[in-house]
């Protein structure tokens, strides 16, 4: 990851969402992007120019654009039509983004399109986030990394975020994942946690 002082940046064409520029580096704001927050608060996963990424919950392509600056290719999955329109525009300008309009809970819909990836990144507002991650790990190579941005309030508003967090980690561990790092994204994002884990070698 590229840091200028204590500012996380990525190199690429700017002006995607009127982000701040430092020279020709795009500032990656931890308050706007949960992935940037993870790099600020924890270790995360190093993305390099040969990393292939499957990105679930691509939304408007804000974070996706930064990931694409680092990665070789990003398969960006988004379900809702309105953010998809924005994502398509971002993808038109960044040749290493493959935009896929599909439901992350149904990986069989986009299975014919997505190759084996090195990193699975998930940021979806769905109740069963652990299950989505597990099902999509079919695209992840053995020893590949997974970053799950847990939106605890989407799982169940009535449950304590701490409980949701614990249950999700347990579900991932019992599916065979090795949890490397798990942390809350405070002070940047309320009730959001990041879980970084490794898919076991077969």
């Amino acid at each position: 990851m590229i840091w200028i002082g204590d500012v996380l940046v990525s190199h690429g064409e700017g002006g995607v969402y009127s982000e701040r520029m430092l020279g020709n580096a795009r500032v990656w704001d931890p308050f706007r992007s949960k992935l940037a927050a993870l790099y600020h608060e924890g270790t995360g996963v190093e993305i390099t120019s040969d990393t292939r990424v499957l990105y679930l919950g691509a939304a408007n392509g804000t974070t996706v654009s930064h990931v694409a600056d680092y990665a070789e290719v990003v398969y960006a999955v988004e379900f809702a039509p309105r953010p998809m329109q924005d994502l398509l525009e971002v993808a038109r300008r960044r040749k290493n983004i493959v935009p896929i309009m599909a439901d992350a809970t149904r990986p069989e819909q986009y299975a014919p399109l997505v190759e084996t990836v090195d990193l699975l990144y998930q940021d979806v507002a769905q109740p069963d986030q652990a299950m989505i991650a597990i099902r999509n790990s079919a695209f992840l190579r053995p020893d590949g990394k997974m970053i799950l941005m847990l939106k605890t309030r989407s799982v169940d508003v009535r449950k304590e975020p701490g409980v949701v967090f614990k249950e999700t980690v347990e579900a991932l561990v019992s599916a065979g994942f090795v949890v490397q790092e798990s942390l809350w994204l405070l002070p940047y994002h309320q009730d959001h946690a990041a879980i970084v884990c490794t898919k076991p070698e077969v």
């Binding site: 290719v73 039509p81 998809m84 329109q85 398509l88 993808a91 038109r92 040749k95 290493n96 983004i97 493959v98 935009p99 896929i100 309009m101 990986p107 069989e108 299975a111 014919p112 399109l113 997505v114 190759e115 084996t116 099902r135 079919a138 695209f139 508003v157 009535r158």
Partner: protein, 287 residues
């Protein structure tokens, strides 16, 4: 056989898929992949298949197909008749907010110019007040007041259009609760298909989110009604049977929304029996 975006693979033999990006994106929809035995596509296989020249070409071809598929899917999502109604009713609700805010502000402004003016003990409706302010003032204040009047006129026109469109898009729901309220319900649910998948109990409290979550979190009583309170049958009902009217009405609305979504035409038989039932409960003499 394993099917990928670039072709079908069987026993190491690959048959590339033909046609342009649109034809290929249509083909992908028909592919049924079992995730249990899934093997992800491989770009070298696609090259061997003759579908692309190299890695860069693989990504580029795949992108073309994905763009075609996404553009087609977005178009399909928006082609539903409810998509525009959704924007119309949301615009209407936002105009109400804006008009109210501006009216409040203009009155405050007017009070500075006329220190003796007060709204206490007056029953002047807001639109008459704005008209008076426009006529009695000069310069910017009068101008802003005139703008509010024009906004209100636009709002009235828009409300008619919403109502008309709702009658067309959701005939049964509109017949039970009126086009405007029907459209608001649809807007809160996120679309007609979302509304028709909701249980009646959810429709009953649509728009009462704060009260509902306060109820779920604490011991406060559950909300009896949300948006459907706007219908005369609910707000005119005697206080003690209001909850019941809301419940019955929501039940019928849930059915109406499903007929609207899946059939799309008014069902007179259903409407008559539903109206009769709601009226009965509303009179408070339900057996």
């Amino acid at each position: 056989m394993r099917s990928y975006w670039f072709g079908d693979v069987e026993d190491g033999l690959c048959t590339p898929s033909g046609g342009d990006a649109h034809a290929k994106s249509d083909r992908i929809r028909l592919i049924r992949t079992s995730m249990d035995t899934f093997v992800p596509p491989d770009w070298e296989l696609a090259v061997a298949c003759g579908a692309c020249r190299d890695r860069a070409d693989y990504i580029q071809k795949l992108r073309e197909i994905c763009f075609a598929a996404a553009e087609r899917d977005i178009q399909e999502q928006y082609s539903g008749k409810d998509a525009e109604l959704l924007q119309m009713v949301r615009t209407l609700d936002e105009m109400d907010t804006v008009i109210n805010l501006l009216t409040e502000r203009v009155v405050e402004w007017y009070q500075i110019r006329h220190p003796t003016f007060t709204r206490k003990y007056r029953k002047t409706p807001a639109h008459i007040l704005v008209k008076n302010i426009r006529e009695k003032s000069r310069g910017a204040l009068s101008f802003v007041a005139g703008e509010i009047e024009r906004l209100s006129a636009t709002r009235t026109e828009l409300a008619k259009a919403v109502s008309g469109r709702a009658n067309d898009v959701m005939p049964n729901t509109s017949a039970l609760i009126g086009g405007l309220v029907a459209a608001r319900l649809m807007s809160h649910a996120g679309g007609l298909s979302d509304l028709c998948r909701m249980p009646a109990s959810a429709i009953q409290v649509l728009g009462a989110r704060t009260a509902l979550f306060a109820h779920l979190r604490t011991k406060s009583p559950s909300p009896k009604h949300g948006i459907i309170f706007q219908h005369r049958r609910v707000h005119n009902a005697p206080r003690e049977c209001r909850g019941k009217v809301a419940r019955v009405l929501a039940g019928k609305l849930a059915i109406a929304a499903r007929i609207d979504h899946y059939r799309g035409v008014a069902d007179p038989v259903f409407l008559e029996s539903a109206q009769a039932r709601i009226d009965l409960v509303g009179k408070g003499n339900d057996p």
